[in-house]
C-alpha cells in the first residue's frame, strides 16, 4: 500500500525529512561500527561481559591482576612441591 500525501507540508519538508533520515541512518552506522571496533579490540574475551551493564567487581583491573598473581603463585607452589 502506497503512502498517500495528506498535506502539502509533506512535500514542502521532503528535503528536510530525507536529510534527517539520512543523518539517523548515519548515526546508526556509527554506533554499530563503534560497537564492532570496541568489541573486536578487547584483549580478553571475558571483558565482553563489561558491556552487559552489570557491575562485575571481578573484572576490575585490580581484581584481574590479583587473579593472575594468584594463578602464578599456585603454579610456582606446585612446581616447588614437585
Amino acid at each position: 500500500m502506497a503512502f498517500k500525501v495528506e498535506h502539502e507540508i509533506h512535500q514542502r519538508r521532503k528535503g528536510r525529512n530525507s536529510g534527517v533520515g539520512l543523518l539517523l541512518i548515519g548515526l546508526v552506522g556509527i554506533v554499530f561500527g563503534l560497537t564492532v571496533v570496541k568489541v573486536l579490540g578487547l584483549t580478553d574475551v571475558r571483558q565482553m561481559e563489561r558491556f552487559d551493564h552489570v557491575a562485575r567487581p571481578q573484572l576490575e583491573p585490580g581484581a584481574l591482576e590479583a587473579a593472575e598473581q594468584r594463578a602464578a603463585d599456585l603454579a610456582a607452589a606446585s612446581e616447588a612441591g614437585e
Partner: protein, 310 residues
C-alpha cells in the same frame, strides 16, 4: 544578542540552511588541523575510531558556529558580509539555531567521550564553551584583542586530535596549538587592512578602527616574531624533522618578510597600489599554515615507513 525576532521567514528552511549555520568553511580548517594532530601522534588509532573522532570535532565546531550565529544575529543583520547568513536572511529562526547548537554540542562531546577518551571530550567541550561564551558573548564586543583571544578556539583542534590518539597533552600538541594561536592575529589583521568592514557600525571593536591602521601594522609584526619561534620550535620536537624544518624556515622567511613589508608601509603607500602587499601577505599566511601542517604529515609518513632523508 538574540532580541532579533524574525518574522520574515517566507520559505521552509532546508538542510542546506541548517548546514550553513555550522560555518562549513571554518569546519574545513578544523577538520584538517585535527586530522594532522591525530595522524602525527605517536600512538596509532583505529581508522574507524579516528573517523568518528574527526566527525565529532567537526560537529562540535559546527555547533559552536550555530551558537555564535544565534548570539550574533543582531550584528549579522547589520554587516554586509553576514547579512545573508541563515538567521538574518530569515531562513532559520534564532530559537532553531540555539536548539541545534546546544543539541549538537552535547551530542558531539558525548560521542567523542564514548568513542575515545575523557580528555579529548573535555577539550572539545571547552573549545565549544570558549568560542560560544568567552569569545562570542563576552570578548568579541568588548575588546579589540577579540581576534587574538578568539583565535584560541580555532587552535584547539590539533590538540584534540592528539588527545584522541594519546589520551594526553604534550609539548608537541601545545606547540601545534600555539602555531595556530600566534598565526591567527597577523592573518586576520592583514585581511582587515584591505577589506572595508562595517564592524564599527555593528559596535564590534576591531583593532583597525579602535587603535588605527598604524597600530595594526605594528601588531602584525609583533605577533609574527613569536610565531616564527613557535613554528621553528615545533621542528625540534618528536613530530618535527629535517623536512619540516626546511619548509618552516622557508615559510617563516616568506611570511616574516610580508609582515615586515606591511610594517614599513604607510596608508598612503597602501592606497597607492590597492593594498598589494597586504593582499599578498594574507595569501602567504594561508600557504603558511597549510604548509606547516602538511610538512608535519610528511614527517609522520616518513617515520611510519622508516624513511630517512639524511
Amino acid at each position: 544578542m538574540t532580541d532579533v525576532t524574525n518574522h520574515s521567514q517566507t520559505s521552509e528552511a532546508q538542510m542546506g540552511d541548517y548546514f550553513a549555520l555550522m560555518k562549513p568553511r571554518v569546519m574545513q580548517l578544523v577538520v584538517f588541523t585535527a586530522l594532522v594532530g591525530l595522524l602525527v601522534a605517536p600512538v596509532g588509532v583505529n581508522p574507524f575510531i579516528g573517523f568518528v573522532a574527526i566527525l565529532c570535532i567537526a560537529v562540535g565546531a559546527g555547533a559552536s558556529g550555530a551558537l555564535n550565529m544565534w548570539w550574533d544575529a543582531d550584528i549579522d543583520a547589520i554587516m554586509k558580509r553576514t547579512v545573508k547568513r541563515p538567521i538574518p536572511s530569515g531562513a532559520v529562526q534564532p530559537g532553531e539555531a540555539l536548539g541545534i547548537g546546544m543539541t549538537l554540542s552535547v551530542f558531539s562531546v558525548v560521542l567523542l567521550f564514548l568513542a575515545t577518551n575523557a580528555l579529548a571530550a573535555g577539550l572539545l567541550a571547552f573549545t565549544i564553551f570558549f568560542y560560544a561564551v568567552i569569545y562570542s558573548m563576552w570578548l568579541k564586543r568588548s575588546t579589540p584583542q577579540n581576534i587574538v583571544i578568539g583565535g584560541a578556539a580555532g587552535s584547539f583542534p590539533p590538540m584534540i586530535g592528539w588527545a584522541v590518539a594519546t589520551g594526553g597533552v604534550s609539548v608537541e600538541s601545545i606547540l601545534m596549538f600555539a602555531l595556530i594561536f600566534m598565526w591567527t592575529p597577523p592573518h586576520f589583521w592583514a585581511l582587515a587592512l584591505f577589506v572595508k568592514s562595517d564592524y564599527g557600525d555593528a559596535g564590534v571593536p576591531m583593532l583597525t578602527e579602535t587603535h588605527g591602521r598604524k597600530a595594526t601594522r605594528n601588531h602584525i609584526l609583533a605577533y609574527c616574531v613569536p610565531l616564527v619561534l613557535v613554528a621553528l620550535g615545533l621542528g625540534v620536537t618528536s613530530i618535527g624533522g629535517p623536512i619540516y624544518l626546511v619548509v618552516a624556515v622557508l615559510l617563516n622567511l616568506w611570511f616574516l618578510k610580508g609582515c615586515y613589508d606591511i610594517w614599513c608601509r604607510t596608508d598612503a603607500d597602501s592606497e597607492a597600489d590597492d593594498h598589494a602587499v597586504e593582499k599578498h601577505t594574507f595569501k602567504v599566511s594561508l600557504f603558511y599554515l597549510f604548509g606547516h601542517f602538511v610538512a608535519l604529515l610528511v614527517e609522520a609518513l616518513m617515520r611510519a615507513n622508516d624513511w630517512n632523508v639524511w
